[in-house]
């Protein structure tokens, strides 16, 4: 069979058109592979919020070869809103314990920073949730990330298609960024853990309340772009009392009795998901994050303390996310 010049040109054009359409789907959507060879996770047991948390946390941190001496440590808790009796926010006593631990490890400064995504009056959430008093007593500086100085930042992944975001200086200039999520289910993203917690760094003053642009660009995609761009150096997840059901605001408190420490946010979130009775590979941002941010596979996670028990009953979720529950 002979190929005419006309056949050749048509074939070439079709090939070029096909490549144009398919290449964006085949090329990686991240700029660099940030995964460590091996990640470390420690599941600490703590049944209640108490003044002993600093001892538990200090012992847990000794399991990690981290160095914060002379560094600016930014603690990013999950502080959304306040509803009496609900387990919405990272507990202030855990944040205080973390601040104390990092100070003892020689940090130059420890800052607590958050930009609540639901409540615009940040000071009101701080007051109602008990943060204001704790931070004042311990002389810990708080930065409202919804109103911090902003720097246009090129995103280091392209899951959303956004080229850049305005992000807070405090986060971008942190030497050591610690994500401190509350372990919760989430009616839009399945779970909200250390990676989803980064929505709080997106400034409400620029993007509104809630941070609606991230929902329009895709929640899972936004999580990946954010975590690629503002890397989390360490995770301290509050699972002493977690939340199940219609989280992140209207769920039910679920005592889990754990604090999860990790030097890798993907490993942290995969571990937390397992503790919730979920299959982490079914959570898009964990599965995709395991391609370039961190490790989700148990084989690549060194359990530095006890292994977590899979709960008797998986966490309750809204119907759309029942597929997360591991068999």
């Amino acid at each position: 069979m002979s190929i005419t010049r006309r056949d050749f040109l048509i074939g070439s054009a079709a090939l070029a058109a096909g490549a144009t359409v398919t290449t964006p789907f085949l090329l990686p959507k991240y700029h660099s592979d940030q995964r460590p060879k091996l990640s470390r996770v420690a599941i600490l047991h703590a049944q209640q919020y108490s003044n002993h948390l600093d001892q538990i946390l200090a012992a847990g941190l000794r399991l990690f070869p981290i160095s914060v001496r002379g560094k600016t440590v930014v603690l990013k808790p999950n502080l959304v809103d306040y509803i009496p009796g609900d387990a919405i926010n990272t507990h202030p006593l855990l944040v205080l314990a973390a601040a104390e631990s990092f100070r003892r490890l020689g940090a130059k400064s420890v800052i607590v920073a958050e930009g609540p995504g639901h409540q615009r009056d940040t000071q009101l959430v701080l007051l109602q949730s008990g943060y204001e008093q704790c931070l004042r007593d311990e002389k810990i500086r708080f930065v409202d990330l919804n109103r911090d100085q902003l720097i246009r930042t090129t995103l280091r992944a392209s899951y959303t298609g956004m080229r850049d975001l305005w992000l807070p200086r405090t986060v971008l200039e942190a030497d050591f960024l610690v994500s401190m999520p509350k372990i919760k289910t989430h009616h839009w993203s399945g779970v909200t853990l250390s990676m989803k917690n980064m929505f709080g760094v997106v400034p409400g003053a620029r993007y509104g309340w809630p941070k609606n642009i991230l929902h329009w660009m895709g929640i899972q995609e936004s999580i990946l772009d954010l975590c690629a761009t503002a890397p989390i150096h360490f995770v301290i997840a509050d699972g002493i009392v977690a939340m199940e059901g219609n989280g992140p605001l209207n769920g039910t408190p679920r005592p889990l009795g754990t604090i999860v420490l990790a030097d890798d946010p993907v490993a942290a979130d995969a571990t937390c998901a397992r503790l919730m009775g979920f299959d982490p590979s079914r959570i898009v941002h964990i599965r995709e994050g395991a391609r370039f941010i961190g490790n989700a596979s148990s084989a690549l996670i060194d359990q530095a303390a006890e292994t977590g028990d899979v709960p008797v009953a998986p966490f309750q979720v809204v119907p759309e996310f029942r597929f997360l529950q591991a068999p």
Partner: protein, 309 residues
């Protein structure tokens, strides 16, 4: 008759602090620790410093005029993208008494009239009616988004209504004002929380009622001053009046004072609570500092928002 605060010394101290925070460019930064000027704190500060002999109001107004986008909108801060956002409505109000600003304000108003929540588009309306129904709202009732290409929210809608209501006529390309204001009012009424009051705009999600916020409620109530007889408005004023008694955060308390005054509810005890809050003068958030000044001078502040008592 000028408003006399219960504690004029507090007010003068706060105004002096506000004046000290003015940046050389004429604007104010959002936080006391920042040197990046932003439009929102500048608007509140300009309103607070209007007709008092501290600060450089002319420089603030000039800053606002210089930062307008070519499309008539205002950015959140000077280096921001030029697409504009909700802050446009607040600037239009902050420049209300400045005659040379009339063309800029008109451009801003035209931009506001062309800006609508994404659910105003038939496709998104259809999506919210059929496929995406976890948040309870009527997509026929739309207002203004925080930024173009997103859906309507309570605070930007309320500020836009306040700004558009200040225009005495709907001519010269502004014929859409009554229609847009009415749609915005309907949207606010639709988004109310089940027990009264508003949050960002999600009253019910996944069948569960979400709690209202005092500041969002107060801003919505300012915009709904002309609908005071509506049961939704009355219920929300009641909610705010109950909630305000326990508020210890100056921003929410200041907004509550303004809204309750607008709806002719007693505010004397709330003003006393506000001036009694500790360390007001060292409030980090400059918008909050300015709002406290406005709440302590509430008659003038309400006039600036176009609310007559």
């Amino acid at each position: 008759m000028p408003t006399v605060t219960t504690d004029p010394i507090v007010l003068s101290d706060l105004l002096a602090e506000l004046a000290l925070r003015q940046l050389p460019c004429g604007g104010w930064a959002a936080l006391a620790s920042s040197s990046q000027p932003a439009i929102e704190p500048t608007c509140y500060s300009a309103l607070a410093l209007d007709s008092v002999p501290v600060g450089d109001l002319a420089r603030a107004q000039d800053f606002l005029l210089r930062t307008q986008n070519p499309n008539g909108s205002w950015p959140v801060f000077p280096e921001d993208d030029q697409g504009g956002g909700w802050i446009t409505s607040l600037v239009v109000m902050a420049l209300r008494d400045l005659v040379p600003a009339i063309p800029a304000r008109l451009q801003g108003l035209h931009w506001l009239l062309n800006c609508a929540g994404k659910e105003a588009n038939w496709f998104w309306k259809w999506k919210f009616r059929t496929a995406d129904r976890h948040v309870r709202f009527d997509p026929d009732k739309y207002g203004w988004p925080w930024f173009p290409d997103t859906v309507s929210w309570v605070v930007p809608t309320a500020f836009s209504i306040l700004a558009l209501n200040q225009i005495p006529c709907s001519c010269g390309g502004l014929e859409q004002i009554p229609f847009r204001v009415n749609r915005g009012v309907e949207m606010l009424i639709d988004r109310v929380c089940p027990g009264g009051g508003w949050n960002a705009g999600n009253g019910i999600v996944y069948g569960a009622a979400l709690a209202p916020h005092a500041d969002d409620t107060a801003i919505a109530l300012l915009a709904l001053r002309d609908r005071a007889e509506d049961p939704v408005v009355q219920g929300s004023v009641d909610y705010l009046e109950r909630t305000a008694q326990a508020l210890a955060a100056p921003c929410s308390l200041a907004w509550a004072i303004l809204a309750l005054a607008a709806h002719r509810r007693p505010i004397a005890s709330l003003r006393s609570s506000l001036v009694a809050l500790p360390n007001l003068v060292s409030t980090v958030d400059t918008s909050t500092l300015a709002l406290v000044c406005l709440a302590l001078d509430y008659q003038r502040a309400l006039s600036a928002f176009g609310v007559t008592l």
